[in-house]
Amino acid sequence: MDNSKGYAIELRGIVKRFPGVVANDGIDLKVRRGEIHCLLGENGAGKTTLMRVLYGLYRPDEGEIILNGQSVQITSPRIALNHHVGMVHQHFRLVPTLSVEENIVLGLDEGTGPFMNFRKTRKKVSAIANQYGLPVEPQTKIWQLGVGQQQRVEILKALYREVDILIMDEPTSVLTPHEVEQLFATLRTLVDDGLTIIFITHKLDEVMQVSDRVTVLRKGKVVTTFPTTETDKPTLARLMVGREVIFRLEKKRMERRDKILEVNDLYALNERRLPAIRKMSFELFGGEILGVAGVSGNGQHELSEVLTGLRKPTKGKVFLKKKEVTNCSAREMNDLNVAHIPAERMRMGIVPALSIRENLILKKYRCSPFCHREFLDKKEIEENANRAMSNYRIAAPSCETPAKLLSGGNIQKVILARELSENPCLIVAVHPTYGLDIGATEHVRQVLLAQRERGAATLLISEDLEEIMTMSDRILVLFNGEVMGILDAESAGIEEISLMMAGTRHKGEKL
């Protein structure tokens, strides 16, 4: 019997290089027909790259793709779909102003001539929706749907195209725990119906909960593959990071110092002018890290912007060291020595085309010593860069190197060097370790802890609950723009925090 029978997908020796990195370094992967196969690995391990190769978004530099025993060339998503391979991306590919059914048929040659036949579409969509328990209203516009429902549309889109293999790229990162349950139930039905699912994740619990088999990737290579039942979380964690995970960082006990930040009954709107922060009040002290936990999109982004002067609140007050700063601009907040480590470091944190040297003075270029009258002082700027590069161990050929050529970890170090060099009184750090490898993550965390010991007040916003729990002194849980409660990090349990993230108010927290 042919060995390849029984495998829906076989990847042999896939190599994909990008300038400066080998994202996939000779990957072999076999996925059995009708299983949920987890691809587990840290950010940057090469999971998404590998799946983009399979879906035809990237051409591999080397290697072979075998689907159902046949060697195939997948050069575009259309060809992938012809081979019945579909993918649900981490960031959805939907047109917000179009309806569900319009999004589903987008790019298909449906109907007669130039005319669309939505009656047929609608029938087929509701048939699929009923079969797999994915209720949607076909004529609703995408922007009116929540993320969970949008994901449902993405899945329907793939099923409408009659895929046999469905790739899900970190599908749970935007979902509430309840929505995750629903998603897992759906995936089970799909598999029972004969589909094969590849599930990309870096969360151990999900692997244990949903998968039949799991393949661990690290730094572009396969570490191992085995049935989920034959492994456990600590094993997976060790394989994923290559060594034992330090679950507790060295953290000195700190005496509570002066109150640095006070937020009083704050309200703010999001980009779509809908309420994003509601009746928010909290205090933050020097020498303290206050972790903000919550599913993304529950007001964290807006909170960080209000505190750094990038967004004007609609109501309420913010005090910094007893001084009102509610309507201060970004520049004024910067001058008051508030540091901001932004979430999207490539978009907000740096100017990719400018050099490291110039990125390091992005917020300080106007004043001495970097600027005298109108003219920039080249020598001072260079000395500043050399100092920062050695203090923060920024690995780059020189300070002239454009920031865009640096790795994520080094870019984050540039941002840290710039934001923390003036010994800020308040640090607003948003996803500070997102996408970084273990070494860089540890460096960032140690830098933040050093600032805490120095007496800085830190607001740490992160989706990584483990990071919040290890780093914080107190944990503030956000849901729907409201504070569900503030817990002491020492005694808080994951269970309790998860419940609050899903909208349960902490006992004793009044409305």
Partner: protein, 359 residues
């Protein structure tokens, strides 16, 4: 098994200066080859035509002088545009800004009654402000109301063109112009000196060269230049760093519009000595300067070179009209083709394309 030729496209991290130069050169050569097709259609050998253009625009004292005098407005408008483009403000309105500079200067020359020595300085200042004002309107509209800068700057050109038409047919029509749509001739104190026997109004040329250097220093060495580069490269990071989009946009359009206005002053005070039809004042310098700035890759110093190239092409238009009897407008085909190939060639700066044999 027979292989076929495939190609691989990879992102290129940074394009070196040499690569930029060669790719630009190749784009220009490609444009000249394509333009050759048009000469063929007219039954003229392209090689012969290019020889004539080169000889006519650079090979004689007269031709050279004509090339240099056309370079002046291209240089001034082009230098200003590099600054606007660096801040990602797509100023398509240098033509209108040039005309409004000319209008302001003409008004001062004709009606201010200033003492002679003050007249020319006042005209330059007025011309700068006239062009700047015309450029600042779209700048404010973009930052405050979010209106598209391409559309507004382009539309402002038409307002300027018809405003000039109205002036020379109406209130400013010269009693001594014998029914022509001109203003009166300016008093001699409002005439720019020229290099003897040519139409090169050298003070404007010097001004252009100095401003190219000053702007290069501004962009690379000053904090305003730093702000312009940050806004242009990453507007989000600029907001994050507290750089004001309003202030920076106003600054770049003050410069860009103002410099175009100075070009307008040079044209009417150096060549025509009166306000006349918009098409006679400018010949599309403001539009051609867009390509000049783009070919210079937004580097103000490089504009000195690229403005010469386009001046050669414009003078070449005269040559082919006189020597070959071909329409002057053929040079617009040139300009269009160069821009076309230039923008097309940018893929080679951002990506590395390598050919390989697939089996």
């Amino acid at each position: 098994m027979k292989g076929h030729l495939g190609f691989k496209i990879e992102r290129r991290p940074v394009a070196s200066g040499r690569l930029v130069f060669f790719v630009s050169l190749l784009a220009i050569i490609a444009a000249f080859v394509m333009a050759g097709v048009f000469f063929r259609i007219y039954g003229v050998s392209p090689i012969h035509a290019y020889q004539l253009i080169l000889r006519g625009s650079l090979g004689s004292r007269f031709g050279l002088a004509e090339t240099v005098r056309r370079m002046i407005p291209l240089l001034l408008c082009g230098v200003g545009l590099t600054i606007a483009f660096r801040a990602l403000f797509w100023n398509i309105g240098a033509e209108g800004q040039l005309l409004m500079g000319a209008v302001a200067a003409a008004g001062i020359a004709l009606f201010s009654g200033l003492p002679d020595p003050l007249l020319l300085p006042a005209m330059f200042i007025g011309g700068f402000l006239g062009g700047a004002a015309w450029g600042l309107i779209p700048a404010v509209l973009k930052v405050v109301l979010g209106l598209n800068d391409v559309i507004t700057t382009l539309m402002m050109n038409y307002i300027a063109i018809y405003f000039v038409e109205w002036l020379i047919h109406g209130p400013w029509k010269g009693p001594t112009a014998r029914g022509f749509a001109y203003s009166d001739t300016f008093p001699p104190a409002a005439w720019l000196p020229t290099i003897y026997g040519t139409r090169i109004h050298w003070p404007t040329l010097v001004l252009g060269l100095v401003l190219a250097i000053v702007m290069y220093i501004m962009v690379t060495r000053t904090r305003s230049g730093f702000e312009v580069r940050v806004i242009g490269e990453n507007p989000d990071a600029a907001r994050f760093a507290g750089i004001s989009q309003l202030k920076t946009t106003l600054l770049v359009m003050l410069i860009s519009g103002g410099f175009a206005g100075l070009a307008g002053v040079g044209e009417i005070a150096g060549i025509h000595m009166r306000l006349l039809g918009p098409a006679n004042i400018s010949m599309g310098y403001g539009y051609t300067a867009i390509i000049v700035a783009w070919l210079a890759r937004r580097n103000p110093l490089a504009v000195i070179v690229t403005s010469i190239l386009f001046a050669v092409i414009m003078t070449g238009g005269d040559v082919i009209k006189v020597s070959l009897g071909l329409p002057f407008q053929l040079i617009n085909v040139f300009n269009g083709l160069i821009l076309f190939f230039l923008i097309g060639s940018e893929i080679f700066l951002r990506y590395k394309v390598s050919f390989l044999l697939r089996r």
